[in-house]
Symmetry: C2
Subunit: 201 residues, 2 copies
């Protein structure tokens, strides 16, 4: 859209919307028009929700989750088991595991994975805080739930080394066939891992 | 995400983001996390831009375009030819034609197409205003640029009937091969139209 058709306000709204992941320049225009048409039902409330979240949401100083409370409501939930910490790369992984709802435990968000080429060393991640949390006691098991990428696995090995002196159990997620997955579409590495870790019927 | 992990503010942000066209529930979560991480660079400015647009942007009372000024800057642009009005269904079509930049004329946004099954009759569209604009004089040509759908074509015929007594030229967009398009992928209707409207080399 050229500057001549609509005001700079609309232009700026489109430019900012285009930076939201999932929206490109074209869908940002569509989104902007939709928002303008649904001014009362959508644009006003969304602007308010964003301003409020920007104001109130922060990273938890204990685990790195995001919440309006600090410590977050996972860290302060009395029903959760203090003895187990699941280590994830990112808050989105924490949310994914919580949606699965399989374990009622604590988390630790690393904030990324070791990647020397991108200048991410142990000090850029929250590895020191994790070791301190574990050393402070009560933790019996750390489940390393980083992504199954090369950097993720490197990070997992580094974490294992760091946690080794603390005499706790360190585990990782199982590799195998996704539930509902078809063997025909799986890669050889996954199939080999699934065979190796086969369980009794 | 269950209510227990994050505050209601984040939950509400995700729910509202999921209503933006182009974002579903899954990408709304990704977008919310990204916005929270880019609080200063993106979430604050976007919230502000939305609030400002919601406050200041309105539909032009002459042509139906959206702008912060009323009449909009297309209607008040002195360089544009008053003699020609391009009739479109929606503001997005107006923007698309302006991006093409082929004609420096005025527009009229219908606000939809005739669709009796959805309860859209002539009174739900801005057809009366268009006829009044044309009847007020100076207009020599109306270019009907509605979509090439059944409803669009019905609307075009209705408009032609309404404009017939006014003794002006009424035209429509040419059908033909899209620029850069491959014949092999085009439907028969388009190819037949392109052959029928063939032009001399």
């Amino acid at each position: 859209m050229s500057k001549r058709i609509a005001g700079p306000e609309i232009e700026r709204l489109i430019q900012l919307l285009a930076k939201v992941p999932g929206l490109g320049p074209r869908s940002a225009r569509r989104a902007a028009l939709h928002l303008i048409k649904k001014k009362e039902q959508l644009m006003h409330p969304l602007a308010g929700a964003m301003a409020e979240a920007a104001e109130r949401v922060r990273a938890c100083s204990v685990c790195g989750n995001i919440d309006t409370a600090d410590p977050c409501r996972i860290c302060t939930d009395p029903s959760r088991d203090d003895g187990t910490i699941i280590v994830v790369e990112d808050v989105s992984d924490l949310w994914a595991l919580e949606r699965a709802g399989a374990m009622n435990v604590r988390y630790h968000v690393l904030g990324g994975v070791l990647s020397p080429l991108d200048g991410v060393g142990p000090d850029q991640l929250t590895i020191g805080q994790l070791v301190a949390r574990v050393a402070a006691g009560r933790v019996r098991e750390v489940i390393i739930a980083v992504n199954a990428t090369v950097e993720g696995q490197t990070t997992a090995h580094y974490l294992t080394d760091q946690l080794a002196p603390l005499d706790i159990k360190v585990t990782r997620l199982a590799h195998g066939v996704p539930v509902g997955g078809e063997l025909d579409y799986l890669d050889e590495g996954t199939l080999a891992a699934a065979l190796k870790s086969r369980t009794a019927f």
